[in-house]
């Protein structure tokens, strides 16, 4: 039983099988309709061949052609309509499959509560291939490929039956020759698509220069440093280096096909000559029978033709299906070491959040960011974290938010280990501004009300937080107000400046507080503000963080010194803790850092 299940799981993970299953799952009734259309359409191929023989035979014998004409006209008319009908159903299934694959990939990537899988470059590559980027052919396109493939297989099979009725061995020979050729071509197509897939990582080294040239990020420096011709050289170099290998592989694959083509060529020519001869045998059937067989031979030959070959589309389409299977598998692996927990009774912290002997290193890296970190965040108070670049301040936030779990040690909230808590429930307790906060192509209401995404916007709460961070006039000034999309490329699109975005991100965090979050994380909340903006914000720091358990990370002492408590993190450990005044009195690292800055303002 287990063996059988394993067998079916394996089968289902073969891309071509999966392509069939996907079409079926997308919409079973439509899939049935498609099968019927294909079978009926395919049956018309031998029927048409027979009717061609009949009409020619009748005319040649000077008999009435009316009946055969009506018959062939009717068959022709029906097959004319069957084509578009097949295309319509294929299109419907195609789009549904693509919608489903996208939804599944999106769901898979959003499933883990942590973010380690997002850092996995190989997984990102697979995701990209799953979109059918390599060929512009999406997983759903396989429906069209499959429809064509089965149509051509079945109609050729029908035609082979006509040949078999005349000489069964000839049908067998033709079938074998065509299958061999098909197989060699399919191998070659697989070869073509897979080689290309393997080149993607390396080709990215080349396309990187294109992205640099066409993107705005490096525009200024590229000009100042005169990088144009150099970038072109590098682009060329990396591309040809990779492609030369791809081409060499491809040439090797080509030889197999040539052998297949040769076999098919010999068999085809022999078959036609044999039929042409057979018609002149003493006991030959009437000539129109041979016309039918010739029509059938032509139809069989179509089975392994190259151009418009469904195999190619199918291979390219399945090269997008394969990674979808792998993404699911990778996410399952990531979930095995997942961030989980089922206690959902976590409420606002009443006493403190504690880091107890926490060690942490990023997956796949040997060095530890924290090694035995101990830290207490008193509930309802603010804590500032100070340290050099790379001291792990942002990592600390990631641990607190359970985007990663500590390698050893634990974090507790009022004594409850965070590792036991449902991550989703904990996230509802959190509000944060990240240093690299998102500038989403959503409406202003959704950008601020991100923690309420997908539900009706709460206009009162939106206006309240907008007032508090001073963006109300900005939003009211836009033609579509809260419905303005904060991306110029969309309808109702507007553009916000860096400073405006910073305030929107702040409003986003405050909105989450309105919705019941009690832990506020501010990672460089004023980085994009000018002197005045920064001064305004820190003047209101106490008001904004009142009653919240706040963690603030900033280079700016104006912000830091207002926190109830300050910790200095160095070499993965806390080296000083205390209020501004305490730390200044202690005369340690904080004091020296502060004084260094202060000295420059002493006039």
């Amino acid at each position: 039983m287990a063996g059988a299940r394993a067998f079916f799981t394996n089968l289902n993970e073969r891309p071509r099988v999966r392509a069939h299953v996907m079409a079926w799952e997308a919409n079973a009734p439509l899939a049935v309709v498609l099968v019927v259309l294909i079978v009926v359409g395919a049956a018309f191929a031998p029927l048409y061949a027979v009717l061609v023989g009949t009409v020619i035979g009748a005319a040649a014998r000077h008999q009435s052609v009316t009946a055969p004409l009506i018959a062939i006209g009717a068959v022709y008319a029906v097959s004319q309509v069957l084509g578009p009908a097949r295309d319509a159903v294929t299109g419907m299934l195609n789009r549904r499959v693509d919608d489903r694959v996208r939804a599944e990939m999106m769901e898979a990537m959003l499933r883990p509560h942590g973010i380690a899988h997002l850092e996995d470059a190989a997984l990102q590559d697979k995701l990209e291939l799953a979109r059918g980027i390599a060929w512009g052919i999406t997983p759903g396109s396989t429906v069209g490929g499959l429809a064509q493939l089965w149509f051509s297989r079945l109609s050729s099979l029908g035609s082979l039956l006509l040949v078999a009725r005349f000489r069964w061995w000839l049908a067998v020979v033709l079938l074998v020759a065509n299958l061999v050729t098909l197989r060699s071509k399919r191998k070659a197509f697989i070869n073509l698509t897979q080689i290309y897939g393997q080149g993607t990582e390396r080709l990215r080294k080349s396309s990187y220069f294109r992205e640099v040239a066409l993107g705005a990020d490096a525009a200024k420096e590229a000009r100042v440093f005169g990088l144009g011709p150099w970038a072109i050289d590098r682009f060329d170099g990396a591309w040809f280096e990779t492609m030369r290998e791809v081409w060499a592989e491809r040439r090797r694959g080509g030889l197999v096909v040539s052998a297949g083509l040769l076999l098919k060529g010999v068999v085809t020519v022999s078959a036609f000559l044999y039929i042409a001869n057979a018609a002149f045998a003493a006991s030959a059937r009437p000539p129109q029978d041979f016309v039918v067989i010739i029509q059938a031979l032509l139809s069989v030959a179509g089975l392994s033709m190259v151009l418009g070959n469904p195999e190619l589309i199918l291979e390219q389409g399945t090269s997008a299906i394969r990674p979808t299977i792998e993404v699911e598998r990778d996410i399952a692996t990531h979930s095995a070491s997942a961030i989980r927990g089922d206690r959902d009774d976590v409420t606002e912290p009443r006493h403190s959040i504690k880091f107890e002997n926490v060690s942490f290193g990023y997956p796949g890296r040997d060095d530890l960011v924290f090694d035995g970190l101990n830290l207490e965040l008193p509930a309802g108070h603010s804590l500032a974290i100070v340290g050099d670049n790379g001291a792990g301040k942002t990592t600390l936030v990631k641990l607190l938010a359970r985007l990663y779990d500590p390698t050893s040690g634990r974090i507790t909230v009022d004594g409850i280990p965070l590792a036991d808590v449902d991550p989703a429930a904990w996230h509802r307790q959190l509000a944060a501004i990240f240093q690299d906060f998102g500038r989403y192509a959503l409406t202003a209401a959704e950008n601020v009300g991100l923690s309420n995404f997908g539900d009706e916007p709460d206009l009162d709460a939106l206006n309240r937080v907008a007032d508090r961070v001073g963006i109300r006039p900005l939003i009211d000034g836009w033609e579509h107000g809260w419905d303005s999309v904060l991306n110029r490329q969309f309808d109702k699109g507007v553009e916000a400046s860096g400073g405006e975005w910073q305030r929107i991100a702040l409003a986003r965090a405050l909105f989450a507080v309105e919705r019941g979050a009690h832990v506020l994380v501010l990672d460089e909340p004023t980085a994009q503000l000018d002197v005045r903006g920064e001064a305004e914000l820190y003047d209101r720091f106490l008001e904004l963080t009142a009653g919240l358990t706040t963690v603030v990370i900033s280079h700016r002492f104006s912000t830091v010194r207002r926190a109830d408590r300050i910790v200095v993190v160095e070499h993965g450990k806390v080296c000083e803790v205390g209020s501004h005044d305490e730390l200044m009195a202690a005369g340690g690292k904080y004091a020296s850092m502060f004084e260094l800055q202060a000295a420059r303002f002493a006039s």
Binding site: L69, V81, M105, A219, Q489, F601
Partner: protein, 609 residues
């Protein structure tokens, strides 16, 4: 979609022609032998069908006329055409792939050149140009299809002519057959238009759900999306939008298929008429059975050709539309270069003695009607360090952009030791300057290269890079990398190491320090992501070096910063406000003045008391 593109959505015939010829030219330049080979093979393949049809006729006549030799001849014709056609198609596929790949590469290469050759950055910053560039970037794959779809269209014409010739050979009256195909051709156009209209009406929503998909799956927003619990909302929105769009497209598409089916039914009339006409002639002995076989084959082929025609021509036109965007960029680049690069460039002095002077400089961004800078007169003394301060949007960055010649002043001029900057070749000017920006590039290259590009002749010189990193106080970044300067940076690559914002910024600063003796060094908030200690160390160190270079070549350092601890070190401070120079002087002078500078300084200083 509100893409404010400047390229017309429906380019005229001339534009289409230009985009096709441009693509063909690039194709023939990139890989002449393959383009030629593809054209010839495609042409030969087109004869395979008609020859097969003719072979069937000969064979059939052989059968009915008991002409054994004729039958053999016919069989050889059919089988030969079949086998050769098959072999040609196979060879064509690899040619086709090669052509697409090489033409794609050549197009990309041209694109890189076009985008990078323009001395200014208007095309990256002006919304409507940016949109075009963005679209070109997304759809550039289509460009590579122009040559083969054009060759395909030409092949189709060739094949149609051959087919018609054969039809006429049976009986000239049969030339009427294609008339029955007119509905199909008309419907083909209608279907194409319906598809385009449908796409236009859903494109905004489609972009929305693709955007949602990308945002949910990319690394960038992983933290925020989780902390703000957006998962269910995003999935729901994606699924709703895509179901809605798919529903609408399906309705339109099914209607189109119905129309197509009806049009093809009309063609059936032609098929029956032709068959009946020839059958009766055979019956009456006016034609041979082979003629009837030929007519049947040809009708079938015309049917396929008409389907093919609609697809092939439609595809070519779609690709050509993208091609026209390329033509636009090429025109723009040509004009933009001609406007900025002087015909007889003036030479720059080896060292600055006087300095850089802004004379009545005004500037407004192209396509806008508000002056960002208005009648600015400013003197940057040779050998001095000048700090620019002011609120966001006051015009500091614009001043910098004019100095770097990313834009040219709308009015007035900039003089470098008396030489108008506009008389100097921008490339020449840039060889003599260096810069670090707040929106620095994160070059995902080897660390050595990412820094070394700051002075291309020394790009592979590790001692030079080491020196530059030292001057930028950035050696610690490289010390932390697993393979030092040979480490691949950036997460786009499997072996790449991702850096923090501060680390990237330090490397950018190292890049700016590569050229040791520039006439002008621009530092536009180059330390915003760094902590105060690093910044302090950097500027202590830098100030010394700047003075030294300053005395050697009269170099000017222009610094933009919000940190007054840094600003006050400058020899000369310029407060920019509302597009004019509001205040200027030394720190002491400006504090003494008690104006805006003093106020801003006080705002920051009080945090340290």
């Amino acid at each position: 979609m509100t893409t404010r593109g400047v390229v017309p959505k429906k380019p005229g015939l001339r534009a289409t022609w230009r985009s096709i010829t441009t693509a063909m030219r690039i194709g023939f330049k990139a890989t002449p032998s393959r383009m030629l080979g593809l054209s010839v093979m495609r042409g030969m393949t087109e004869f395979s069908g008609p020859i097969q049809a003719w072979g069937v006729k000969v064979l059939t006549d052989g059968f009915f006329a008991h002409d054994h030799a004729g039958a053999i001849r016919g069989a050889l014709l059919v089988a030969g055409a079949l086998v050769i056609g098959d072999a040609l198609s196979w060879t064509q596929i690899s040619f086709l792939m090669s052509v697409r790949e090489r033409v794609g590469q050549a197009m990309d290469r041209e694109l890189i050149g076009l985008a990078m050759d323009v001395p200014g950055i208007e095309h990256y910053e002006r919304p409507e140009y940016q949109d075009e560039l963005q679209l070109l970037r997304q759809q550039r794959g289509q460009l590579a299809n122009i040559p083969d779809s054009t060759i395909g269209t030409a092949g189709l014409v060739l094949r149609s002519v051959t087919t018609m010739g054969l039809l006429a050979a049976i009986h000239p009256a049969l030339l009427f057959l294609p008339v029955f195909g007119i509905p199909a051709v008309v419907v083909g156009g209608v279907v194409e238009r319906r598809a385009r209209r449908a796409e236009e009406s859903v494109i905004e929503r489609m972009r929305s759900y693709y955007w949602l998909y990308a945002t949910a799956t990319e690394r960038e927003h992983g933290k925020e999306l989780r902390v703000f619990s957006t998962r269910d909302g995003m999935l729901r929105r994606h699924n709703d939008l895509s179901a809605e769009v798919t529903g609408e497209i399906t309705t339109v598409n099914n209607g189109s298929e119905l129309l197509t089916g009806l049009a093809w039914l009309m063609f059936t009339l032609g098929f029956v008429a032709v068959t009946a006409f020839v059958a009766v002639r055979v019956k009456n002995g006016d034609a041979t059975p082979g003629d009837l076989a030929l007519a049947l084959s040809l009708s079938q082929q015309i049917n396929n050709q008409l389907t093919g025609a609609a697809n092939t021509v439609g595809f070519m036109m779609r690709c050509a539309r993208v091609g026209y965007r390329y033509v636009w960029l090429s025109d723009y680049a040509k004009a933009a270069k001609a406007a900025v690069i002087p015909v007889t460039p003036a030479a720059l002095p080896g060292a600055l003695r006087d300095g850089i002077v802004f004379e009545h400089v005004s500037f407004r961004y192209p396509g806008t009607d508000v002056d960002v800078l208005h009648d600015v007169n400013l003197r940057l003394r040779a050998g001095s360090t000048v700090a620019l301060v002011g609120d966001n949007g006051a015009g500091k960055s614009t001043l910098i952009k004019l100095l770097c010649r990313f834009y040219e002043p709308t009015e007035g001029r900039i003089l470098v030791d008396g030489v108008p900057l506009s008389d100097v070749d921008p490339a020449e000017w840039r060889l003599r300057m260096a810069a670090g920006f707040q929106d620095f590039a994160r070059f995902e290259l080897l660390a050595q290269t990412a820094v070394g590009v700051g002075d291309l002749p020394l790009v592979d010189d590790s001692a030079a890079v080491h020196g530059a990193l030292d001057r930028a106080s950035a050696l610690d970044v490289v010390a932390d990398l697993p393979s030092g300067l040979d480490t691949q940076l950036g997460r786009s690559f499997a072996t790449g190491v991702e850096l923090s914002g501060g680390q990237w910024q330090k490397l950018a600063l190292g890049r700016a320090m590569m050229r040791e003796h520039p006439l002008l060094l621009v530092l536009d908030e180059p330390t915003s992501s760094l902590d105060p200690q690093t910044e302090h160390a950097l500027f202590e160190r830098y100030a010394g070096a700047a003075r030294r270079v300053g005395t050697e070549v009269g170099a000017i350092t222009v610094l933009v910063s919000h940190r007054f601890s840094t600003v006050r070190m400058a020899d000369h401070i310029v407060l920019v406000g509302d597009g004019v120079i509001a205040e200027e002087g030394t720190h002491a002078e400006l504090v003494g003045l008690g104006g805006t500078y003093a106020e801003l300084y006080e705002l920051q200083a009080r945090a340290y008391r």
